[in-house]
């Protein structure tokens, strides 16, 4: 199924591209149909999995314990194969990817006039790359998809972006590319030094537990860490993000914030920490410090922005700091929190970028100084914006709160002072979120803009995301149940991490 899903998306993208010749409105329908077909394919495959498999602890080294697993030879000489595996975590990420993919298509439904076919093709190809990233178990294959998702995204920004798109697209490309090459280097080093008798392998299951120790291990780990933290993005590798987000077309921003950033978090959780338990353990205090800095720094810069999309972009930097903290705290609460943050932030930020796109489409500006009082003209947009603003500041009852609470609660057990510092982010998030509402929808109405409220198409996307966040906030258990066996399989690989951190960070034991 997994290879088929990727192929479906690749082919669907190509069909969408060519369908432009028949009718310029056709590509978006083809793209939508492709994503829906992908969802159907995924769900039918999931329906075939015996239900008890969802609850047994997943052992990543055992092919049988994956929900779905397939392996085909590709380059046998170097031990490279088309090895795919899906567990609860990948499944959750796939659902998020395809769901937000649909949202992305809706959000730019009538925004694109230039080469709509190629636009939709790039959009769907990005999804194909992301799906590949979430399914690959062969590290070489993983790297391939890591690069595959980059190129169509680059094109989306470079061709359909806004006024400064060339710079932003180049910056995005170079940051991701350079860090990706570091990862490739690390992958090769890891595979070569783990090879015995010249039998080299890139398989995740076989590489687990074979990381070099000492400085070599740390350096190899850092190759992964930098690649994933650039994507996350974590401080201080985040500076590509505000530019890319601001300049990308709406669908690009939705994909970027909703899904692409999550590949960084996924990479840390799936590869970086389990492959290098010892080095990660030593590095955890640094990673956590970067997380805390990211939370506060992102929030301060978000407050300083006048560009709506830039503000949301910096809020992403702030929110992804929680993911970094949760991953390196490495206990059940914090890890579940980090995963929940990946999903909840994906939804809430995608919605905010859709809002940004809708505003720009109507007002032809992203400058919040030129907005204000829009609630009067567009109460539905205002209500939606308010909902996602309070979601992003972590209102209990919505998914983002569950995520942040669990991360901080888990972190508090291992590093209380880190948790206390990170909690400042709860205040600063309120500052920028409410300021954003003030600048756009509240305040004196500006009569020079006549603005259309959300229509049925946009409202339906918003309602779905609102329901999703409420569901994640009030009954998140299905998500936890899905990922719990995965985490139970991963956690023993790095069993003594928390106590080590507690010892490393002064004043650690509560």
């Amino acid at each position: 199924m997994m290879l088929e899903l990727i192929l479906l998306l690749l082919v669907g993208g190509a069909v969408a591209w060519q369908s432009e010749r028949i009718n310029p409105n056709l590509p978006r329908w083809v793209a939508m149909a492709t994503v829906c077909l992908g969802l159907i394919l995924l769900m039918s495959a999931v329906a075939d999995i015996p239900s008890e498999k969802f609850s047994i602890t997943a052992d990543p080294t055992d092919a049988q314990s994956w929900l779905l697993y397939s392996r085909h030879e590709w380059i046998p000489r170097f031990g490279i194969s088309l090895e795919f595996g899906m567990d609860g975590l990948s499944l959750l990420m796939l659902l998020l990817t395809l769901g937000l993919g649909a949202v992305a298509i809706i959000s730019s439904w009538d925004e694109i006039e230039f080469k709509p076919g190629l636009f939709q093709a790039n959009l769907v190809w990005t999804l194909a790359g992301v799906v590949g990233v979430f399914l690959s178990l062969d590290l070489f294959l993983f790297f391939l998809f890591w690069e595959v998702m980059l190129i169509p995204m680059y094109l989306l920004i470079a061709i359909w972006g806004h006024e400064n798109r060339g710079y932003a697209a180049m910056k995005f490309f170079i940051f991701t590319q350079v860090s990706g090459l570091l990862m490739l280097l690390s992958i090769v080093v890891l595979a070569i030094q783990a090879a015995d008798d010249g039998n080299i392998s890139f398989s995740y299951g076989e590489l687990l537990g074979s990381a070099p120790g000492g400085t070599a291990g740390m350096l190899t780990m850092l190759g992964f860490f930098v690649a994933f933290t650039v994507k996350l993005p974590g401080f201080p590798f985040h500076t590509w993000l505000p530019d890319a987000h601001t300049q990308a077309p709406t669908a690009g921003s939705v994909l970027l914030a909703g899904i692409l950033l999550k590949t960084g978090a996924y990479g840390l959780l799936r590869f970086c920490i389990p492959l290098f338990p010892e080095a990660s353990m030593q590095f955890a205090p640094v990673a956590m410090t970067l997380g805390v800095i990211g939370i506060i720094y992102g929030a301060i810069l978000a407050f300083a922005q006048t560009d709506f999309k830039r503000l949301v972009a910096y809020s992403s930097v702030s929110h992804m700091g929680f993911v970094l903290l949760g991953l390196y705290a490495w206990n059940s609460l914090a890890l579940q929190g980090a995963i929940m943050q990946m999903v909840a932030h994906g939804v809430s930020t995608a919605a905010l970028f859709m809002m940004a796109g809708a505003l720009q489409h109507r007002l032809h500006t992203r400058d919040m100084n030129r907005m204000g009082g829009l609630w009067h003209q567009a109460p539905r947009m205002g209500a939606c914006a308010m909902f996602f603003a309070v979601a992003s500041l972590g209102l209990p009852g919505l998914g983002n709160f569950v995520a942040e609470f669990l991360v901080l609660a888990g972190l508090f057990a291992v590093a209380p002072w880190m948790a206390a510092a990170a909690a400042i982010g709860l205040i600063t998030a309120a500052v920028y979120s409410l300021w954003m509402m003030q600048q756009t929808f509240q305040g004196k109405p500006n009569d020079e803009h006549k603005m259309q409220d959300f229509g049925a198409r946009e409202m339906s996307a918003m309602v779905v995301m609102i329901i999703a966040l409420l569901w994640l906030g009030l009954y998140p258990q299905p998500v936890f149940d899905l990922t719990e066996p995965v985490l139970e399989g991963l956690q023993p690989l790095v069993a003594d991490l928390p106590s080590t951190i507690a010892a490393t960070i002064a004043g650690g034991t509560p």
């Binding site: 505000p242 059940s332 209990p396 508090f412 209380p416 309120a430 003030q438 009030l474 719990e484 509560p510």
Partner: protein, 611 residues
């Protein structure tokens, strides 16, 4: 048992429908749904209270397990005991009256739908707050009421000043909430649960009185409480929050939400009893706040700001009660305060409503004959606020003062401070009455309150008068209080002080025997008045300490200093690029020379290696 679930469900459902209608619902329907849903909840609460009073059984109801990760299993579950019953009665009872009043008050507002949506959402969140059986669900209600308060303070969003007040309210309380969240993390890490009753039991068995951990945990919870209940040092948001519609001030910023901090401490009293230093801090914070706010109220001239500072001051009394361990007295004062302060706010709202949105008390005057119902309401409300004998406020405040007196060592000091506060309360309350309702008329009312406004006023008048005789079902909730034996002199002084305040207010603001102008003759007295008027310059202090630095930092960082690193790398590359580009200049001589030099260099190296 199902009635329990219905209580928060009615307003929640109504809010959802009102929001979904996005303003297209006819205002009659919106008003009926808005007030009716709270009315239905009130009926359910009455039924529940009735059966509770009959058997005294604690009721618990689990709706579903919120999340379950390892041992962390918070539920969406309710815990109903006497304390909850009192809080629910106040919220739905007073809440219903305020909703009814709102129909008339907000009738001409185009956004009446949005108004009732927020108000209903608030009631639902407040109910969740008091019904929650664990601190996480309580926190959900806690933040929920915070957001509703934000939405309602900034209800008239077109004026940026209202937006600023709303943000201030949310962010200042959020500072406290963050402390509270850390408290939850600490409790969860140490005690392994956030379910309030098991948690207090675990604390009792794990901790000794005076241990560091309970002191730290309660101090963090206290942070949340002072934020929400507008106590020092986080009280500055409440006076500004008066920017919202007046019924909002009555419901949220007088009767219910601001007392959530008092409820929190009372609810987790088992933890606080393990932490005497925190208890002492609660008492001193209460005392300091009640005095500071009392002095400030004396100097205000906006009718709603006077009432706002008075609210801060009265919650100070509740904190004082909690701090000296008189939990039941604190809750008692919470209830009577809800009656008379809601009454005062609604009466003030009626004045504002009938006087073309006039807020300045010096432009009112002579309303005694022109708005008789409102005058009676204000008189009764002020009497209860000032704790004149036989009003509801008298019983509750007297209980607090006597409990304070009974504390070892510092008791008389706390009592004397509270008494000074009572004197201030009496003076500023009757200053308000005398200036607004007596003397020369400054502005003519253009209408009279209709039945929807008058009925709640009359009912609240009755409650403010007789509320002191209610016996609250708190016996099973808190540990039994010691019987205080105090001398009759102390009692008589406690009773007499408000009367002295009334007399002083009469002499200053009605009789004219004591001239305020003479008091303000010296420049230092005027400076003191201005100091009080500004709320002891707390806003300026916080601006200088927090707001301005934060804005400055964000302004400095605005253009992304981190990018300088990457720009540096880019610049270095470009520099190298230009240097290297210079080599390729198209001149054959240059190429030949460099080639020859290179060759010689290579040969030299090779020869050297060979030898």
């Amino acid at each position: 048992m199902n009635t329990i679930a219905l209580i928060p469900l009615f307003p929640l459902l109504s809010a959802a429908l009102l929001i979904i209608s996005t303003g297209r619902m006819p205002r009659h329907l919106a008003a009926i749904m808005g007030a009716g849903s709270v009315g239905l909840s009130a009926i359910c609460v009455a039924m529940l209270a009735n059966s509770f009073l009959a058997d005294g059984q604690v009721r618990e109801l689990t709706l579903w397990t919120w999340m379950s990760i390892g041992d962390f299993t918070p539920r969406i579950a309710f815990y109903i005991d006497g304390l909850t019953i009192v809080m629910m009665s106040v919220i739905t009872g007073v809440g219903f009256l305020i909703h009814l009043y709102s129909i008339e008050f907000m009738w001409d507002d185009e956004s009446i739908c949005r108004y009732f949506a927020y108000m209903n959402l608030f009631v639902a969140a407040m109910l969740l707050l008091v019904m929650a059986d664990n601190l996480l669900l309580l926190y959900l209600g806690w933040e929920g009421v915070g957001v509703c308060s934000y939405l309602l303070v900034g209800f008239w969003y077109r004026d940026p000043a209202n937006g600023a007040a709303a943000r201030k309210a949310f962010i200042v309380t959020r500072v406290g909430d963050t402390a509270m969240a850390l408290g939850l993390f600490l409790l969860l890490t140490q005690l392994g649960t956030l379910d309030i009753q098991p948690m207090m039991a675990a604390a009792n068995s794990q901790w000794q009185v005076g241990d560091t951990l309970p002191v730290l945990a309660t101090a963090l919870l206290l942070g949340g409480a002072v934020g929400k209940s507008a106590q020092l040092p986080l009280h500055t948001w409440l006076p500004d929050a008066m920017a919202g519609p007046t019924p909002v001030s009555a419901l949220i910023h007088a009767a219910t939400m601001v007392t959530a901090g008092v409820y929190l401490i009372a609810r987790t009293y088992g933890l606080f009893l393990l932490a005497p230093p925190t208890m002492l801090a609660v008492a001193w914070i209460g005392l300091a706040t009640l005095l500071l706010a009392g002095f400030t109220a004396l100097a205000q001239n906006d009718i709603k700001r006077i009432l706002a500072y008075s609210t801060i001051s009265q919650i100070g009394y509740m904190f004082l009660a909690l701090g000296v361990g008189a939990f039941a007295s604190g809750i008692f004062h919470l209830m009577t305060h809800a009656f008379f302060k809601a009454l005062l706010f609604l009466a003030a709202g009626a004045v504002i409503h009938c006087l073309h949105h006039e807020h300045n008390i010096f432009r009112m005057g002579g309303l005694r004959t022109r708005l008789p119902v409102v005058f009676a309401s204000f008189l009764i409300g002020s009497a209860a606020l000032a704790a004149l004998p036989f009003t509801s406020g008298f019983y509750s405040k007297d209980a607090i003062l006597l409990s304070a007196w009974a504390v070892e060592d510092i008791g008389p000091w706390l009592w004397a401070g509270g008494l000074l506060g009572a004197l201030l309360t009496s003076i500023y309350s009757f200053r308000l009455v005398f200036i607004v309702f007596f003397g020369e008329a400054q502005t003519e009312p253009d209408r009279q309150p209709g039945w929807k406004m008058a009925t709640p006023l009359i009912l609240l008048c009755v409650l403010s008068l007789v509320g002191g005789w209610f016996a609250l079902p708190l016996a099973g909730v808190f540990p039994p209080a010691d019987e205080h034996r105090v001398s009759h002199a102390v009692e008589w002084i406690s009773i007499g002080t408000p009367l002295l305040g009334l007399l002083l207010a009469y002499l200053m603001f009605l009789g004219g025997q004591l001239s305020v102008d003479k008091l303000l003759a010296s420049s230092s007295a005027r400076a003191l008045r201005d100091f009080w008027f500004s709320g002891w310059r707390m806003d300026q202090l916080y601006d200088a300490l927090w707001v301005t630095p934060y804005k400055k930092i964000s302004h400095v960082l605005r253009d992304e200093p981190v990018d300088a690193i990457y720009n540096g790398i880019v610049a270095a590359n470009q520099w190298g690029h230009r240097r290297l580009l210079a080599l390729q200049n198209g001149e054959l001589r240059w190429y030949a020379t460099t080639m020859a030099l290179g060759l010689i260099l290579l040969l030299a190296v090779m020869l050297r290696n060979a030898s």
